[in-house]
């Protein structure tokens, strides 16, 4: 018996010995109730994906953008109200006829190899995107004829037509790359840019351990001010839940990804964690396929809109981390364009039934596609189904794998599409893509000449004030015709350790507190 016990103990010892030697002094656990004291030496950020493309003009994932945005400056950033604020550009304007746009640049920005950042770099970047026609920006600068450097600090964009969205789009979306590096590549689009990085942001990538981490070191002479933090490290985790464990464990200081509402509600009471609320520039919505019967009848679309319990979705599924947009595509995140007269569709199953009867539709059964990996939609999709049932409408849920979902959305292969736009930063430009005839993300196949005309008018306007009237009229048509059914605007929650402070929040998951100006300003608390 004694030998048996001894052997068992030996086996247990072997298990712990073979599998678990601890590293002296390196335990990363934080069992106290306070976050560990932060050091300005390093800020570790959790992300859920590797960097796939180091060429900032091509990359399209969140991690790609977070990392490359710290390296390549944009002309502008955005304040919390969605208004453009200076970054590389200090001023920008249009000529009276709207066919020329000019931006004046700061003169204190340098690439990490010592060369100054000039208007030549901006002109080269824009012209390369135009010439090779790739990336997000290419679809937003269709009005561009060419860009030219008038002086080292002034760049002029010649447009083929007045386009009041041009500077907003270029300022927000275009990362400026060093001409003297990128021009050597036969194709800017195909340039991998995966080593020896030359950048001009607050941090420069210095070490890559794929699948594990991306190390970025401080750039001492960053124009807007030397960052406090010496090093930013992005660490890769499989999902947000693991990131939360790592934050609680003290392995990371900040979670880059937005927290699902239920997780945010749970973390609210954690003394080691602070939640930063960020406005979304997008919205969650339902779109009805206007080319499929009976949804081609506006009364059916209205019936569907009145069969959704919006408040319940915001309160229960979103745990209160969502605002009403009054069923308007001009959301509270865009105060310069918002229409205060818009009213949310009421949840009224009886009205739904009446509208369906008027349209001569009975026993309506529809399918609703959504991305099953989206934790928010997975929570509210059953609520949409259940509330529709009260109006006598049967909705069959079709939770799909992401690639299938995107494919079906682009092909408008659905009755009802449930989803969310991530970033709608400029209503005239974005409504053009989403609701103009043939618009690239016009999933509902809307074709309305009056709407097209109003969106065109708003795009020609050279200031938000001038664009406001036509874009509000366009939004009213979208509301009345139920071309889009806006459910809510999410309030994002970004979690970080209470050991840190000084972040500068900006709207959207893309900018949030990970934007370059924010990380350049962040510092240890206390």
């Amino acid at each position: 018996m004694r030998r048996a016990t001894l052997l068992a103990a030996l086996a247990a010892l072997t298990l712990s010995g073979a599998c678990a030697p601890s590293v002296p002094g390196s335990s990363s656990g934080t069992s106290g109730s306070q976050a560990p004291a932060a050091s300005a030496d390093r800020l570790t950020i959790g992300t859920t994906a590797d960097v796939v493309n180091y060429n900032p003009l091509v990359g399209n994932s969140r991690t790609d953008s977070w990392v490359t945005d710290l390296m390549y400056p944009h002309l502008t950033q955005m304040d919390e109200a969605g208004k453009r604020i200076p970054y590389l550009a200090t001023e920008w304007s249009y000529s009276e006829d709207g066919k020329t746009a000019t931006a004046t640049l700061r003169d204190d920005m340098k690439w990490t190899d010592g060369k100054p950042v000039t208007a030549d770099d901006v002109a080269f970047t824009v012209n390369a995107v135009k010439k090779e026609n790739f990336g997000v920006v290419a679809g937003l600068i269709t009005a561009l004829d060419k860009a030219e450097a008038v002086s080292p600090t002034e760049v002029r964009f010649h447009l083929t037509r007045p386009d009041g969205t041009f500077l907003d789009n270029v300022g927000f979306w275009l990362p400026v790359v060093p001409k003297h590096v990128f021009e050597k590549a036969p194709s800017v689009q195909k340039f991998a840019n995966d080593s020896n990085w030359v950048s001009a942001g607050p941090f420069n990538l210095t070490k890559v351990e794929r699948g594990q981490r991306y190390v970025m070191d401080r750039v001492a002479d960053f124009g807007p001010g030397q960052p406090t933090i010496k090093q930013v490290v992005f660490r890769v985790f499989p999902d947000v839940n693991t990131e939360v464990l790592a934050l609680r464990n003290g392995e990371i200081d900040l979670i880059g990804n937005v927290l699902p509402p239920a997780t945010a509600a749970e973390l609210k009471s954690d003394p080691k964690v602070k939640l930063q609320q960020i406005a979304s520039l997008g919205w969650a919505h339902l779109q009805y396929n206007t080319k499929r019967k009976p949804m081609d009848d506006v009364r059916v679309r209205q019936a569907l809109a009145h069969a959704v319990d919006y408040e319940a979705i915001r309160t229960i599924a979103m745990k209160g981390f969502a605002k009403s947009s009054n069923s308007s595509v001009l959301t509270p995140s865009q105060p310069a364009y918002m229409d205060p007269t818009s009213k949310e569709y009421t949840f009224d199953p009886e009205l739904s039934k009446k509208l369906l009867a008027e349209a001569g539709v009975s026993n309506l059964t529809l399918g609703m596609i959504y991305d099953q990996a989206d934790p928010n939609i997975a929570r509210w999709a059953p609520m949409v189904r259940d509330s529709a049932k009260k109006a006598g409408i049967t909705i069959n849920l079709q939770g799909l794998e992401r690639n299938t979902y995107v494919d079906k959305s682009l092909k408008s292969d659905f009755d009802i599409y449930a989803g969310s736009w991530a970033i709608m930063d400029n209503p005239p430009a974005n409504l053009g893509l989403a609701f103009k005839s043939g618009g690239f993300i016009n999933y509902g196949k809307v074709t309305d000449p009056k709407l097209d005309d109003l969106i065109d008018q708003s795009q020609r306007a050279l200031s938000p004030a001038e664009a406001k009237a036509p874009i509000q009229q366009a939004a009213r048509i979208i509301h009345d015709q139920v071309y889009d059914n806006v459910l809510y605007v999410e309030t994002f929650n970004i979690a970080y350790s209470t050991g840190w402070t000084g972040f500068k929040p900006m709207p959207s998951e893309l900018l949030s507190i990970l934007n370059p100006l924010s990380l350049a300003a962040a510092k240890p608390a206390g």
Binding site: T14, S22, G211, N403
Partner: protein
């Protein structure tokens, strides 16, 4: 020699089968790989150009033959998403998967055999019952559940182990080795716990059978010490089924490693597969499966040869 030649030929055939199934299977994945790499707001011209760049504009049969031709030249192709050779992607990840799976396998065998022997030599005693119940329970465990449980208890509550990654950023020299071991504990333990039951129970059953054989009775009658009877006479025969299990379990271990690496953000091939599925990166998926299939085929070949050495009767 003929025995090894036959096993080798069977291995090559298995590999070809795995390559073929993988090639067609990944193409059944829904979605457009071009949309996973480029902004959806691209022109149709660019879409077609990217399809051509990826070789996806060709008929499926042509793509398949091209791929087989590439493989014969040792070329696994270029990653759609990362624009670098698949070999580079996999070679960055392979060492981590090898460290994890080999460690897990060695620990499982080192623990499984003695525990099986212990249970068999104490058959029907309380220790045997405890080992059996634990073994059966361990066999029914699911890697993700074990992984999340261990991560939460040992990583977050007790804070003993890191819950993600493979090595600390600042670790160098011996510190780096210790850091690697420290990071290896939880993923390794998850795999060991899931695999251990199979070894223990098989070892127990086969050893009980062996201990009932005439040659064991003869050895005992000759006055050979009980320990020597078990470890020297009975164990060699009882090891044959366990050797088979070790070869078969490698496939399960590789499958478990995909889940374990994903849960613990361990930068091995399993995690690369998980990422490649979401990104529809066909070349990386194909390359990873070919590599893993090759590993399993080679391991089985070694098992067959080892079996032949342990039991010369199978060399036919």
């Amino acid at each position: 020699m003929r025995f090894i030649g036959l096993r080798l030929a069977r291995g090559v055939l298995t590999l070809w089968f795995a390559v073929t199934v993988t090639f067609f299977l990944v193409r059944l994945l829904p979605g457009d790989p071009v949309l996973a790499v480029a902004d959806p707001n691209m022109t149709e011209e660019l879409h077609q150009k990217l399809l051509a760049d990826f070789g996806l504009d060709q008929p499926l049969g042509v793509q398949y033959l091209d791929y087989l031709g590439q493989l014969l030249h040792g070329n696994l192709g270029m990653s759609f998403r990362q624009s670098i050779p698949v070999t580079t992607v996999l070679m960055e990840r392979l060492p981590w998967t090898l460290i994890l799976t080999i460690t897990a396998m060695v620990v499982t065998i080192v623990l499984g055999i003695p525990l099986g022997v212990l249970a068999a030599t104490r058959a029907k005693g309380w220790l045997d019952r405890v080992i059996q119940i634990t073994g059966v329970t361990a066999q029914s465990l699911f890697v993700p559940s074990v992984g999340i449980f261990l991560m939460y208890v040992l990583g977050v509550w007790l804070g003993w182990f890191p819950i993600g990654g493979a090595v600390d950023l600042d670790a160098t020299g011996i510190g780096a080795t210790l850091s690697m071991i420290h990071h290896l504990v939880l993923p390794c333990l998850s795999l060991v716990l899931v695999q251990l039951g199979g070894y223990v129970l098989t070892m127990r059953t086969t050893l009980i059978d062996a201990l009932g054989e005439d040659y064991v009775s003869l050895a005992k009658a000759k006055g050979v010490r009980p320990g020597k009877v078990v470890w020297k006479h009975a164990l060699r025969n009882a090891l044959l089924p366990t050797t088979t299990i070790a070869g078969l379990q490698l496939g399960t271990l590789v499958g478990g490693a995909v889940l374990t690496e994903t849960i613990y953000a361990y930068p091995g091939i399993g995690r690369a597969i998980y990422e490649a599925v979401g990104q529809l990166d066909f070349p990386v998926l194909q390359g990873a499966f070919v590599l893993l299939a090759a590993a399993v085929v080679v391991a089985n070949l070694i098992t067959d040869v080892a079996y032949g050495i342990l039991d010369p009767r199978v060399r036919t």
